[in-house]
């Protein structure tokens, strides 16, 4: 589902942000990406999102070779991905429901289906009651879950998350990780970049990828 072959990314500095990274995630697999600050975790996720292009090597995501993906096809490709950001990136002037609806609206889902699917996604993260509120009146953990609802409302095959538990306490972090595990059990491929090694050890089985200085130093399967 996610296949990196000898992928390098240089931002033009003296050192590559990623160098010769190779790994493969199967559909429905859940993987944690860890590493020190500056190791290249966000860069790896940005490559999958085509926010950046790889300098060398080949990325094939869901059967699509990103090196050959023209600019105008990027929006359609991104509709098959779900993303959760550390700073949740909710739009402050829109209600929770409108934020969650965004991926549906941009892909032209008929109006009458939008409301139903938004409520289903909010229900899954336990925030149906907050539908009409503005994001800013919610707690950090609640906002993060709104971000997750937005990421999954389109039923993506791949779910990416960059430090999804960076701003919340342990209890909330565990709740959020539980959600990701649920999605992976439903066949979604999940890739989570995180500092939080405790969360990695809580859930088995899973993949654990370790980046250091742009190199993939560890790739372990943690058995159940």
């Amino acid at each position: 589902m996610i296949r990196f072959s000898q992928v390098s990314k240089s931002y033009g500095g003296p050192k590559d942000a990623l160098s010769a990274v190779t790994f493969h995630l199967e559909p429905g697999e859940i993987a944690f990406l860890t590493g020190h600050s500056g190791a290249g975790k966000s860069t790896l996720l940005k490559l999958i999102l085509v926010m950046e292009r790889a300098t060398r090597g080949q990325l094939v995501i869901g059967g699509i070779n990103l090196g050959k993906l023209p600019r105008r096809r990027i929006p359609h490709y991104r509709r098959g991905l779900g993303v959760v950001f550390q700073e949740n990136r909710l739009l402050a002037d829109r209600s929770v429901a409108d934020n969650v609806a965004l991926p549906l609206v941009v892909s032209g889902v008929p109006h009458r289906d939008v409301g139903r699917r938004v409520r289903a996604a909010l229900d899954k993260v336990g925030l149906l009651w907050a539908e009409r509120r503005l994001p800013e009146v919610l707690s950090g953990g609640e906002q993060q879950r709104v971000g997750i609802a937005r990421a999954v409302v389109n039923k993506p095959a791949i779910l990416l998350a960059d430090e999804p538990t960076g701003n919340v306490d342990d209890a909330m972090a565990s709740q959020i990780m539980d959600l990701f595990h649920q999605f992976s059990r439903h066949g979604v491929t999940v890739l989570i970049a995180t500092h939080d090694l405790r969360q990695v050890s809580r859930f088995r089985p899973c993949r654990h990828l370790v980046l250091e200085g742009g190199r993939l130093l560890g790739d372990r399967v943690l058995a159940a």
């Binding site: 085509v50 105008r72 929006p75 509709r79 993303v83 990136r89 965004l102 892909s107 937005r150 389109n154």
Partner: protein
């Protein structure tokens, strides 16, 4: 199809909402566009009024025929009748020599001479308005033909006046065109700037929409609507401003035209002209925002 229309309608409403959410800056933008476009519109109305008058009889040189003073008392009347039958003559007005003299004494400078003259030195005069549509040579030939008629002393034709008038209207028309180009360019810049400001404010929104799979067309759409809307509403403001100016200026213009040309109907621009202004301004708004948004998206969504 219906859902597409619905989506466009939603975006249009969102565009209006955007305008209403920043009332002061929108007002300044619309006011700027309105005032900028009111200038050429007002000039245009002025030129149109003048040239419609010239079109009526400005291209036709009037001729003055001085009746031979030796031809006798009734010669002028007979000549006038013969001229009225001429196919190249439209109107003839007889100014008898006594009336001519009286008019002369009405001028302040000559008033002291009233009653001092032993004999009226003036001939009878026929003001001849030829038919319209001849060229300069045609009018000269006509004047020459009239000069050969019995009882005609002299014929004066003022072709220079016509040429002068025509040169002035042409100059003003060119100036108006230049103003249109300059100020429509200004409108494009004003709209581009305001679209740019709203793009910068919406940067986070743009990035998020792009990351969840919004196409550039989708991102561009509300900005295109608001740019077009600004062009259209700005042009409507311009029409209102120009109408206001017209109401203020029309009486004076009407008096001027009455005095010089004997015409006093002053009209405003036609509905189709106004529609053209609105359409042109709206199209420019669309174009300016399209370019601005595309350039901005290339900056913030690089790859």
């Amino acid at each position: 199809m219906k859902s597409l229309l619905l989506r466009h309608a939603q975006v249009l409403v969102a565009g209006l909402g955007r305008l209403c959410r920043h009332p002061l800056s929108s007002l300044l933008t619309l006011g700027g566009i309105g005032v900028a476009l009111a200038v050429p519109l007002t000039l245009y109305v002025l030129v149109q009024n003048l040239s419609s008058v010239f079109g009526d009889f400005g291209d036709t040189p009037r001729m003055s025929i001085y009746v031979d003073r030796d031809a006798g008392e009734r010669a002028a009347g007979l000549l006038a009748d013969r001229l009225r039958d001429d196919t190249q003559v439209d109107r003839v007005t007889l100014i008898p020599r006594d009336q001519g003299l009286a008019q002369l004494f009405d001028l302040d400078a000559l008033a002291p001479l009233r009653g001092r003259l032993v004999e009226n030195p003036l001939p009878d005069v026929l003001e001849v308005m030829p038919i319209a549509g001849l060229d300069e040579g045609g009018y000269r030939e006509l004047a020459a033909r009239l000069a050969r008629m019995d009882g005609v002393g002299d014929v004066q034709i003022d072709l220079a006046w016509v040429a002068r008038l025509r040169a002035v209207t042409e100059l003003v028309a060119v100036v108006v065109q230049v103003f249109w180009v300059l100020l429509l360019g200004g409108v494009a810049m004003v709209i581009s700037n305001s679209v740019r400001l709203s793009l910068v404010t919406a940067r986070e929104e743009i990035e998020v929409i792009s990351l969840v799979g919004g196409s550039e067309a989708f991102i561009r759409r509300p900005f295109l609507y608001s740019g077009t809307l600004q062009g259209v509403i700005g042009a409507l403001v311009a029409v209102v401003v120009a109408m206001g100016v017209h109401v203020l200026v029309a009486p004076a213009l009407s008096r001027l035209m009455e005095a010089y040309l004997g015409m006093s109907t002053v009209s405003f621009a036609s509905a189709s002209t106004l529609a053209n202004v609105v359409v042109a301004s709206g199209s420019l708004g669309w174009l300016a925002s399209w370019i601005t948004v595309s350039r901005y998206l290339r900056q913030v969504l690089p790859r």
